[in-house]
Protein backbone atom coordinates (compact mmCIF):
# COMPACT_ATOMS: atom_id res chain seq x y z
CA UNK A 1 0.00 0.00 0.00
CA UNK A 2 1.26 3.44 -0.88
CA UNK A 3 -1.00 5.12 1.66
CA UNK A 4 1.36 4.11 4.48
CA UNK A 5 2.06 7.70 5.47
CA UNK A 6 -1.61 8.47 6.14
CA UNK A 7 -2.44 5.07 7.68
CA UNK A 8 -3.45 4.57 11.30
CA UNK A 9 -1.15 1.57 11.38
CA UNK A 10 1.59 0.99 8.81
CA UNK A 11 3.87 -2.03 8.65
CA UNK A 12 6.62 -1.63 6.03
CA UNK A 13 9.08 -4.30 4.96
CA UNK A 14 9.20 -6.11 8.31
CA UNK A 15 11.60 -9.04 8.52
CA UNK A 16 12.48 -11.01 11.61
CA UNK A 17 14.71 -14.03 12.27
CA UNK A 18 15.11 -16.13 15.39
CA UNK A 19 18.00 -18.33 16.39
CA UNK A 20 17.11 -21.98 16.82
CA UNK A 21 20.24 -23.49 18.27
CA UNK A 22 22.96 -22.83 15.70
CA UNK A 23 20.60 -22.16 12.83
CA UNK A 24 18.80 -18.97 12.06
CA UNK A 25 15.11 -19.26 11.26
CA UNK A 26 13.35 -16.53 9.33
CA UNK A 27 9.96 -15.95 10.93
CA UNK A 28 8.88 -12.98 8.78
CA UNK A 29 10.07 -11.67 5.42
CA UNK A 30 9.09 -8.36 3.86
CA UNK A 31 5.71 -7.88 5.51
CA UNK A 32 3.72 -4.83 4.34
CA UNK A 33 0.40 -3.90 5.84
CA UNK A 34 -1.51 -0.65 6.22
CA UNK A 35 -4.71 -0.03 8.15
CA UNK A 36 -6.80 3.08 7.59
CA UNK A 37 -8.25 4.75 10.66
CA UNK A 38 -11.27 2.81 11.93
CA UNK A 39 -10.53 -0.16 9.71
CA UNK A 40 -10.77 -3.76 10.95
CA UNK A 41 -8.23 -6.05 9.29
CA UNK A 42 -7.95 -9.81 9.83
CA UNK A 43 -4.81 -11.83 9.28
CA UNK A 44 -5.24 -15.56 8.85
CA UNK A 45 -2.49 -18.11 8.29
CA UNK A 46 -1.30 -21.61 9.04
CA UNK A 47 0.19 -22.15 12.47
CA UNK A 48 3.82 -21.14 12.63
CA UNK A 49 3.45 -18.54 9.86
CA UNK A 50 4.66 -15.78 12.17
CA UNK A 51 1.34 -13.98 12.55
CA UNK A 52 1.74 -13.74 16.32
CA UNK A 53 5.31 -12.52 15.85
CA UNK A 54 3.95 -9.81 13.55
CA UNK A 55 1.49 -8.75 16.24
CA UNK A 56 4.22 -8.78 18.89
CA UNK A 57 6.38 -6.52 16.71
CA UNK A 58 3.48 -4.09 16.26
CA UNK A 59 2.94 -4.16 20.05
CA UNK A 60 6.61 -3.33 20.61
CA UNK A 61 7.22 -6.66 22.36
CA UNK A 62 9.75 -7.72 19.68
CA UNK A 63 12.01 -5.62 17.49
CA UNK A 64 12.18 -6.38 13.76
CA UNK A 65 15.51 -7.04 12.00
CA UNK A 66 14.43 -4.83 9.11
CA UNK A 67 11.53 -2.57 8.23
CA UNK A 68 9.45 -0.34 10.45
CA UNK A 69 6.08 -0.05 12.12
CA UNK A 70 4.31 3.28 12.44
CA UNK A 71 1.21 3.81 14.56
CA UNK A 72 -0.24 7.18 13.59
CA UNK A 73 3.05 9.08 13.52
CA UNK A 74 4.71 7.16 16.37
CA UNK A 75 6.83 4.06 16.77
CA UNK A 76 5.43 1.10 18.73
CA UNK A 77 7.70 2.02 21.65
CA UNK A 78 6.34 5.58 21.71
CA UNK A 79 2.77 4.29 21.45
CA UNK A 80 3.14 1.87 24.35
CA UNK A 81 4.96 4.49 26.42
CA UNK A 82 1.96 6.78 25.84
CA UNK A 83 -0.30 3.87 26.89
CA UNK A 84 -2.24 4.08 23.61
CA UNK A 85 -2.12 0.43 22.56
CA UNK A 86 -4.88 -2.06 23.32
CA UNK A 87 -4.12 -5.76 23.28
CA UNK A 88 -6.03 -8.98 23.99
CA UNK A 89 -4.45 -12.44 24.00
CA UNK A 90 -5.77 -15.96 23.51
CA UNK A 91 -4.64 -16.59 27.09
CA UNK A 92 -6.74 -13.74 28.48
CA UNK A 93 -4.02 -12.97 31.07
CA UNK A 94 -6.50 -11.73 33.67
CA UNK A 95 -5.15 -11.30 37.19
CA UNK A 96 -6.93 -13.82 39.44
CA UNK A 97 -6.47 -11.65 42.54
CA UNK A 98 -8.40 -8.70 41.07
CA UNK A 99 -12.14 -8.32 40.53
CA UNK A 100 -13.65 -7.80 37.07
CA UNK A 101 -13.72 -4.02 37.61
CA UNK A 102 -10.13 -4.01 38.88
CA UNK A 103 -8.97 -6.11 35.94
CA UNK A 104 -10.61 -3.74 33.48
CA UNK A 105 -9.02 -0.82 35.36
CA UNK A 106 -5.55 -2.44 35.41
CA UNK A 107 -4.18 -0.46 32.42
CA UNK A 108 -4.81 2.78 34.34
CA UNK A 109 -2.81 1.49 37.30
CA UNK A 110 -0.02 0.05 35.14
CA UNK A 111 0.18 3.43 33.42
CA UNK A 112 0.20 5.29 36.74
CA UNK A 113 -3.02 7.12 35.87
CA UNK A 114 -6.08 7.77 38.05
CA UNK A 115 -8.72 5.12 37.41
CA UNK A 116 -11.74 6.52 35.56
CA UNK A 117 -14.44 4.46 37.29
CA UNK A 118 -17.17 5.73 34.98
CA UNK A 119 -15.19 4.51 31.96
CA UNK A 120 -14.57 1.12 33.63
CA UNK A 121 -18.29 0.69 34.34
CA UNK A 122 -19.23 1.84 30.85
CA UNK A 123 -16.94 -0.79 29.28
CA UNK A 124 -18.11 -3.51 31.65
CA UNK A 125 -21.67 -2.75 30.55
CA UNK A 126 -20.63 -2.66 26.90
CA UNK A 127 -19.19 -6.19 27.12
CA UNK A 128 -22.26 -7.36 29.07
CA UNK A 129 -20.61 -7.66 32.48
CA UNK A 130 -22.22 -4.70 34.22
CA UNK A 131 -23.60 -7.02 36.92
CA UNK A 132 -20.29 -8.80 37.50
CA UNK A 133 -18.04 -5.90 38.47
CA UNK A 134 -17.09 -7.43 41.82
CA UNK A 135 -16.79 -11.04 40.61
CA UNK A 136 -13.38 -12.69 40.41
CA UNK A 137 -12.12 -14.10 37.10
CA UNK A 138 -12.24 -17.67 38.42
CA UNK A 139 -15.98 -17.31 38.97
CA UNK A 140 -16.48 -16.47 35.29
CA UNK A 141 -16.84 -18.70 32.23
CA UNK A 142 -14.19 -18.70 29.49
CA UNK A 143 -16.28 -16.41 27.31
CA UNK A 144 -16.85 -13.93 30.14
CA UNK A 145 -13.13 -13.86 30.93
CA UNK A 146 -12.42 -13.00 27.31
CA UNK A 147 -14.99 -10.18 27.49
CA UNK A 148 -13.14 -8.77 30.50
CA UNK A 149 -9.89 -8.99 28.56
CA UNK A 150 -11.45 -7.12 25.61
CA UNK A 151 -12.87 -4.43 27.92
CA UNK A 152 -9.42 -4.09 29.50
CA UNK A 153 -7.86 -3.71 26.04
CA UNK A 154 -10.29 -0.87 25.24
CA UNK A 155 -10.28 1.02 28.54
CA UNK A 156 -7.52 3.53 27.70
CA UNK A 157 -9.12 4.39 24.32
CA UNK A 158 -6.28 2.86 22.31
CA UNK A 159 -5.42 4.17 18.86
CA UNK A 160 -4.96 0.57 17.70
CA UNK A 161 -6.52 -2.60 19.09
CA UNK A 162 -4.48 -5.80 18.62
CA UNK A 163 -6.35 -9.09 18.99
CA UNK A 164 -4.18 -12.21 19.12
CA UNK A 165 -6.65 -15.10 18.67
CA UNK A 166 -8.83 -13.79 21.49
CA UNK A 167 -11.51 -16.39 20.75
CA UNK A 168 -9.11 -19.26 20.08
CA UNK A 169 -9.56 -21.06 23.38
CA UNK A 170 -13.36 -20.89 23.45
CA UNK A 171 -15.90 -23.55 22.55
CA UNK A 172 -17.71 -23.08 19.24
CA UNK A 173 -21.03 -21.88 20.67
CA UNK A 174 -19.41 -19.30 22.96
CA UNK A 175 -17.11 -18.31 20.14
CA UNK A 176 -19.96 -17.57 17.70
CA UNK A 177 -21.86 -15.62 20.30
CA UNK A 178 -18.82 -13.59 21.29
CA UNK A 179 -17.97 -12.96 17.63
CA UNK A 180 -21.31 -11.23 17.21
CA UNK A 181 -20.92 -9.34 20.47
CA UNK A 182 -17.42 -8.23 19.53
CA UNK A 183 -18.69 -6.86 16.21
CA UNK A 184 -21.30 -4.85 18.07
CA UNK A 185 -18.68 -3.55 20.52
CA UNK A 186 -16.30 -2.67 17.73
CA UNK A 187 -19.17 -1.01 15.84
CA UNK A 188 -19.78 1.27 18.84
CA UNK A 189 -16.14 2.12 19.49
CA UNK A 190 -14.82 2.18 15.91
CA UNK A 191 -11.21 1.58 16.95
CA UNK A 192 -8.67 0.59 14.28
CA UNK A 193 -8.20 -3.12 14.88
CA UNK A 194 -5.97 -5.97 13.75
CA UNK A 195 -7.20 -9.51 14.39
CA UNK A 196 -4.89 -12.52 14.21
CA UNK A 197 -6.79 -15.77 13.83
CA UNK A 198 -6.61 -19.22 12.32
CA UNK A 199 -10.35 -19.29 11.66
CA UNK A 200 -11.27 -18.24 8.12
CA UNK A 201 -14.92 -17.72 9.17
CA UNK A 202 -13.87 -15.36 11.91
CA UNK A 203 -11.45 -13.48 9.65
CA UNK A 204 -14.16 -12.84 7.05
CA UNK A 205 -16.82 -12.06 9.64
CA UNK A 206 -14.76 -9.31 11.23
CA UNK A 207 -12.54 -7.90 8.52
CA UNK A 208 -12.93 -5.01 6.13
CA UNK A 209 -10.02 -6.83 4.54
CA UNK A 210 -8.55 -10.28 5.11
CA UNK A 211 -4.86 -11.08 4.63
CA UNK A 212 -3.67 -14.64 4.16
CA UNK A 213 -0.12 -15.40 5.28
CA UNK A 214 2.17 -18.22 4.18
CA UNK A 215 4.77 -19.75 6.48
CA UNK A 216 8.55 -20.35 6.45
CA UNK A 217 9.27 -17.57 6.02
CA UNK A 218 6.11 -15.78 7.13
CA UNK A 219 4.97 -13.57 4.24
CA UNK A 220 1.77 -12.09 2.82
CA UNK A 221 0.21 -14.50 0.36
CA UNK A 222 -3.16 -13.00 -0.60
CA UNK A 223 -5.49 -10.13 0.26
CA UNK A 224 -9.29 -10.03 0.06
CA UNK A 225 -11.66 -7.10 0.46
CA UNK A 226 -14.83 -7.98 2.36
CA UNK A 227 -17.74 -5.89 1.11
CA UNK A 228 -20.50 -7.49 3.15
CA UNK A 229 -23.00 -5.46 5.18
CA UNK A 230 -22.61 -5.12 8.94
CA UNK A 231 -23.57 -6.38 11.42
CA UNK A 232 -22.50 -9.70 9.98
CA UNK A 233 -25.00 -11.75 11.92
CA UNK A 234 -26.30 -15.19 11.03
CA UNK A 235 -28.30 -13.77 8.13
CA UNK A 236 -25.12 -12.48 6.53
CA UNK A 237 -22.91 -15.44 7.43
CA UNK A 238 -25.49 -17.80 5.88
CA UNK A 239 -25.60 -15.75 2.64
CA UNK A 240 -24.08 -17.19 -0.57
CA UNK A 241 -21.72 -14.18 -0.81
CA UNK A 242 -20.25 -14.86 2.64
CA UNK A 243 -19.93 -18.58 2.03
CA UNK A 244 -18.29 -17.99 -1.38
CA UNK A 245 -15.77 -15.56 0.10
CA UNK A 246 -14.96 -17.92 2.97
CA UNK A 247 -14.29 -20.63 0.38
CA UNK A 248 -12.02 -18.32 -1.62
CA UNK A 249 -10.05 -17.35 1.49
CA UNK A 250 -9.89 -20.99 2.59
CA UNK A 251 -8.56 -21.96 -0.86
CA UNK A 252 -5.91 -19.24 -0.60
CA UNK A 253 -5.02 -20.53 2.86
CA UNK A 254 -4.62 -24.07 1.43
CA UNK A 255 -2.38 -22.61 -1.29
CA UNK A 256 -0.38 -20.75 1.32
CA UNK A 257 0.00 -23.87 3.43
CA UNK A 258 1.14 -25.88 0.37
CA UNK A 259 3.58 -23.10 -0.56
CA UNK A 260 4.88 -23.09 3.02
CA UNK A 261 5.55 -26.81 2.96
CA UNK A 262 7.18 -26.66 -0.49
CA UNK A 263 9.56 -23.84 0.43
CA UNK A 264 10.88 -25.74 3.43
CA UNK A 265 13.31 -24.24 5.94
CA UNK A 266 15.26 -21.32 4.53
CA UNK A 267 18.99 -21.17 5.10
Amino acid sequence: MSAASSAALAVEGISKSFRLGRESFQALRGIDLALAAGEFVSVVGPSGCGKSTLLRIIAGLETPDAGRVTIGSSTPAETTAAHRLGIAFQDHALLPWLSVAENIALPYRLAGMTVDQARVQELARLVGLGDFLRARPRQLSGGMRQRVSIARAMVLKPVVLLLDEPFGALDLVTRRHLNLEMQRIWGELGTTALLITHSVDEAVQFGNRVFVMAARPGRMHAEFAVKLPRPRDRRVTASPEFVALVQKVAAALDDATAASTASGMPG
Binding site: R56, H83, L85, P96, L110, G112
Partner: protein, 251 residues
Amino acid sequence: MARVLEQGWLRSLLGFALFFILWETAGRTGALGASFPSLSEIATAFDTPVKRGLFTRSMAVTVHSSLIAFAVGAAIAVGLALISAVLPSLENGIDSLASGIYAIPAIAFGPILILIAGPETTPIVLGVLSAFFPIYGAFVSGLRFTPSAYLDLSGALGASRARAFLLLKVPHAMPALIDGLRLGAPGAILGVVLGEWFGAPRGLGVVIVGSMQNVRIPQLWAAALLVVACSLIAYFALSALHRLCVRRFAW
Protein backbone atom coordinates in the same frame (compact mmCIF):
# COMPACT_ATOMS: atom_id res chain seq x y z
CA MET B 1 -21.26 -44.12 57.73
CA ALA B 2 -19.50 -44.03 54.38
CA ARG B 3 -20.81 -40.48 53.79
CA VAL B 4 -19.59 -39.40 57.23
CA LEU B 5 -16.14 -40.81 56.44
CA GLU B 6 -15.93 -38.60 53.36
CA GLN B 7 -15.42 -35.66 55.73
CA GLY B 8 -11.66 -35.09 55.63
CA TRP B 9 -11.34 -33.77 59.18
CA LEU B 10 -13.25 -36.72 60.59
CA ARG B 11 -10.94 -39.16 58.85
CA SER B 12 -7.88 -37.35 60.24
CA LEU B 13 -9.45 -37.45 63.70
CA LEU B 14 -10.03 -41.20 63.41
CA GLY B 15 -6.47 -41.63 62.17
CA PHE B 16 -5.10 -39.77 65.19
CA ALA B 17 -7.29 -41.76 67.59
CA LEU B 18 -6.05 -45.04 66.11
CA PHE B 19 -2.46 -43.81 66.35
CA PHE B 20 -2.85 -42.89 70.05
CA ILE B 21 -4.50 -46.23 70.88
CA LEU B 22 -1.63 -48.13 69.22
CA TRP B 23 0.89 -45.97 71.06
CA GLU B 24 -0.77 -46.54 74.44
CA THR B 25 -0.89 -50.29 73.82
CA ALA B 26 2.74 -50.46 72.69
CA GLY B 27 3.83 -48.50 75.78
CA ARG B 28 1.84 -50.57 78.26
CA THR B 29 2.94 -53.92 76.84
CA GLY B 30 6.56 -52.77 76.55
CA ALA B 31 6.54 -53.94 72.95
CA LEU B 32 9.04 -51.27 71.86
CA GLY B 33 11.30 -51.46 74.91
CA ALA B 34 11.52 -49.66 78.25
CA SER B 35 12.37 -46.27 76.67
CA PHE B 36 9.07 -46.22 74.81
CA PRO B 37 6.52 -45.13 77.41
CA SER B 38 2.74 -45.21 77.06
CA LEU B 39 0.94 -41.89 76.64
CA SER B 40 -0.48 -42.11 80.17
CA GLU B 41 3.05 -42.52 81.50
CA ILE B 42 4.23 -39.47 79.54
CA ALA B 43 1.31 -37.55 81.08
CA THR B 44 2.89 -38.08 84.51
CA ALA B 45 5.50 -35.53 83.43
CA PHE B 46 2.76 -32.90 83.95
CA ASP B 47 1.23 -34.20 87.19
CA THR B 48 2.53 -31.63 89.69
CA PRO B 49 2.50 -27.81 89.58
CA VAL B 50 6.31 -27.79 89.76
CA LYS B 51 6.63 -30.06 86.72
CA ARG B 52 3.99 -28.08 84.85
CA GLY B 53 5.79 -24.86 85.74
CA LEU B 54 9.02 -26.17 84.22
CA PHE B 55 7.27 -26.96 80.93
CA THR B 56 5.37 -23.66 80.84
CA ARG B 57 8.54 -21.61 81.38
CA SER B 58 10.60 -23.70 78.95
CA MET B 59 7.97 -23.63 76.27
CA ALA B 60 7.49 -19.87 76.63
CA VAL B 61 11.23 -19.39 76.05
CA THR B 62 11.33 -21.73 73.04
CA VAL B 63 8.19 -20.24 71.45
CA HIS B 64 9.46 -16.72 72.04
CA SER B 65 12.86 -17.49 70.48
CA SER B 66 11.19 -19.31 67.58
CA LEU B 67 8.91 -16.36 66.84
CA ILE B 68 11.89 -13.99 66.82
CA ALA B 69 13.90 -16.40 64.65
CA PHE B 70 11.00 -16.85 62.26
CA ALA B 71 10.35 -13.10 61.96
CA VAL B 72 14.02 -12.24 61.44
CA GLY B 73 14.57 -15.15 59.02
CA ALA B 74 11.47 -14.18 57.04
CA ALA B 75 12.47 -10.51 56.94
CA ILE B 76 15.97 -11.31 55.66
CA ALA B 77 14.60 -13.82 53.13
CA VAL B 78 11.95 -11.42 51.79
CA GLY B 79 14.43 -8.54 51.66
CA LEU B 80 17.07 -10.54 49.78
CA ALA B 81 14.47 -12.02 47.40
CA LEU B 82 13.15 -8.54 46.57
CA ILE B 83 16.67 -7.20 46.03
CA SER B 84 17.57 -10.09 43.76
CA ALA B 85 14.36 -9.62 41.75
CA VAL B 86 14.81 -5.86 41.38
CA LEU B 87 18.56 -6.00 40.64
CA PRO B 88 19.11 -9.02 38.35
CA SER B 89 22.85 -8.34 38.34
CA LEU B 90 22.95 -9.37 42.02
CA GLU B 91 20.76 -12.43 41.45
CA ASN B 92 23.54 -15.01 41.17
CA GLY B 93 25.49 -13.56 44.05
CA ILE B 94 22.52 -13.58 46.40
CA ASP B 95 21.57 -17.12 45.31
CA SER B 96 25.08 -18.35 46.13
CA LEU B 97 25.02 -16.56 49.48
CA ALA B 98 21.64 -18.10 50.35
CA SER B 99 22.74 -21.61 49.35
CA GLY B 100 25.97 -21.10 51.29
CA ILE B 101 24.03 -20.20 54.44
CA TYR B 102 21.78 -23.19 53.89
CA ALA B 103 24.78 -25.51 53.48
CA ILE B 104 26.22 -24.59 56.89
CA PRO B 105 25.85 -27.73 59.05
CA ALA B 106 24.26 -26.22 62.17
CA ILE B 107 25.41 -29.15 64.30
CA ALA B 108 29.06 -28.40 63.56
CA PHE B 109 28.65 -24.65 63.72
CA GLY B 110 26.61 -24.56 66.96
CA PRO B 111 29.48 -24.80 69.46
CA ILE B 112 31.38 -22.06 67.62
CA LEU B 113 28.27 -19.92 67.65
CA ILE B 114 28.02 -20.37 71.44
CA LEU B 115 31.46 -18.79 71.72
CA ILE B 116 30.68 -15.96 69.28
CA ALA B 117 27.03 -15.11 70.00
CA GLY B 118 26.63 -16.50 73.51
CA PRO B 119 24.31 -19.24 74.78
CA GLU B 120 21.21 -17.00 74.89
CA THR B 121 21.41 -15.84 71.28
CA THR B 122 22.63 -19.08 69.67
CA PRO B 123 19.14 -20.69 69.49
CA ILE B 124 17.76 -17.62 67.71
CA VAL B 125 20.69 -17.50 65.26
CA LEU B 126 20.29 -21.19 64.37
CA GLY B 127 16.50 -20.67 64.06
CA VAL B 128 17.05 -17.76 61.66
CA LEU B 129 19.46 -19.85 59.58
CA SER B 130 17.01 -22.76 59.28
CA ALA B 131 13.94 -20.60 58.60
CA PHE B 132 15.63 -18.36 56.05
CA PHE B 133 16.30 -20.68 53.12
CA PRO B 134 12.87 -22.20 52.36
CA ILE B 135 11.30 -18.74 52.56
CA TYR B 136 13.94 -17.18 50.31
CA GLY B 137 13.79 -20.04 47.78
CA ALA B 138 10.01 -20.04 47.51
CA PHE B 139 9.61 -16.26 47.23
CA VAL B 140 12.44 -15.90 44.71
CA SER B 141 11.00 -18.56 42.43
CA GLY B 142 7.55 -16.98 42.74
CA LEU B 143 9.00 -13.61 41.73
CA ARG B 144 11.08 -15.05 38.87
CA PHE B 145 8.42 -17.18 37.21
CA THR B 146 5.88 -14.51 36.36
CA PRO B 147 3.65 -15.80 33.52
CA SER B 148 4.95 -14.46 30.20
CA ALA B 149 1.44 -13.23 29.36
CA TYR B 150 1.64 -10.78 32.30
CA LEU B 151 4.98 -9.49 31.06
CA ASP B 152 3.57 -9.08 27.54
CA LEU B 153 0.61 -7.23 28.96
CA SER B 154 2.72 -4.82 30.97
CA GLY B 155 5.05 -4.35 27.97
CA ALA B 156 2.23 -3.58 25.53
CA LEU B 157 0.58 -1.24 28.05
CA GLY B 158 3.81 0.64 28.63
CA ALA B 159 4.02 -0.09 32.38
CA SER B 160 7.18 1.04 34.16
CA ARG B 161 9.32 -1.72 35.67
CA ALA B 162 8.38 -0.60 39.17
CA ARG B 163 4.63 -0.74 38.47
CA ALA B 164 4.87 -4.10 36.71
CA PHE B 165 6.80 -5.38 39.74
CA LEU B 166 4.35 -4.11 42.35
CA LEU B 167 1.11 -4.78 40.46
CA LEU B 168 1.94 -8.07 38.72
CA LYS B 169 5.06 -9.82 40.02
CA VAL B 170 4.67 -9.37 43.78
CA PRO B 171 0.97 -10.37 43.99
CA HIS B 172 1.66 -13.33 41.70
CA ALA B 173 4.41 -14.47 44.10
CA MET B 174 2.27 -14.23 47.27
CA PRO B 175 1.15 -17.91 47.38
CA ALA B 176 4.77 -18.98 46.88
CA LEU B 177 5.87 -16.70 49.74
CA ILE B 178 3.27 -18.12 52.14
CA ASP B 179 4.30 -21.62 51.03
CA GLY B 180 7.87 -20.72 52.00
CA LEU B 181 6.71 -19.36 55.38
CA ARG B 182 4.85 -22.61 55.98
CA LEU B 183 8.08 -24.57 55.48
CA GLY B 184 10.20 -22.01 57.31
CA ALA B 185 8.21 -22.01 60.58
CA PRO B 186 9.04 -25.62 61.59
CA GLY B 187 12.60 -24.83 60.48
CA ALA B 188 12.76 -21.94 62.95
CA ILE B 189 11.56 -24.18 65.81
CA LEU B 190 14.01 -26.93 64.87
CA GLY B 191 16.90 -24.46 64.75
CA VAL B 192 15.96 -22.93 68.11
CA VAL B 193 15.69 -26.31 69.89
CA LEU B 194 19.00 -27.39 68.38
CA GLY B 195 20.55 -24.13 69.55
CA GLU B 196 19.21 -24.76 73.06
CA TRP B 197 21.00 -28.13 73.17
CA PHE B 198 24.31 -26.35 72.95
CA GLY B 199 23.96 -24.92 76.42
CA ALA B 200 21.23 -22.29 76.45
CA PRO B 201 20.04 -21.44 79.98
CA ARG B 202 16.33 -22.23 79.35
CA GLY B 203 14.01 -23.79 76.79
CA LEU B 204 12.49 -27.11 75.70
CA GLY B 205 15.82 -28.09 74.10
CA VAL B 206 17.45 -27.71 77.53
CA VAL B 207 14.75 -29.88 79.11
CA ILE B 208 15.30 -32.51 76.39
CA VAL B 209 19.05 -32.70 77.00
CA GLY B 210 18.64 -32.60 80.80
CA SER B 211 16.01 -35.36 80.80
CA MET B 212 18.16 -37.54 78.60
CA GLN B 213 21.19 -37.17 80.83
CA ASN B 214 19.11 -37.99 83.94
CA VAL B 215 17.14 -40.79 82.23
CA ARG B 216 13.79 -39.13 82.90
CA ILE B 217 11.98 -40.94 80.12
CA PRO B 218 8.44 -39.46 80.49
CA GLN B 219 9.86 -35.93 80.81
CA LEU B 220 12.07 -36.44 77.75
CA TRP B 221 9.11 -37.61 75.71
CA ALA B 222 6.85 -34.84 77.02
CA ALA B 223 9.36 -32.16 76.00
CA ALA B 224 9.92 -33.72 72.58
CA LEU B 225 6.17 -33.99 71.97
CA LEU B 226 5.67 -30.34 72.95
CA VAL B 227 8.26 -29.35 70.32
CA VAL B 228 6.46 -31.48 67.74
CA ALA B 229 3.13 -29.90 68.74
CA CYS B 230 4.54 -26.36 68.33
CA SER B 231 5.90 -27.31 64.92
CA LEU B 232 2.61 -28.85 63.78
CA ILE B 233 0.55 -25.91 65.05
CA ALA B 234 2.77 -23.47 63.16
CA TYR B 235 2.67 -25.60 60.02
CA PHE B 236 -1.09 -26.08 60.01
CA ALA B 237 -1.83 -22.43 60.86
CA LEU B 238 0.32 -21.31 57.93
CA SER B 239 -1.22 -24.00 55.71
CA ALA B 240 -4.61 -22.48 56.43
CA LEU B 241 -3.20 -19.07 55.54
CA HIS B 242 -1.74 -20.59 52.36
CA ARG B 243 -5.14 -21.92 51.33
CA LEU B 244 -6.70 -18.49 51.88
CA CYS B 245 -3.89 -16.90 49.93
CA VAL B 246 -4.20 -19.31 47.00
CA ARG B 247 -7.92 -18.62 46.89
CA ARG B 248 -7.17 -14.90 46.84
CA PHE B 249 -4.19 -14.76 44.48
CA ALA B 250 -4.29 -17.83 42.22
CA TRP B 251 -6.75 -19.54 39.89
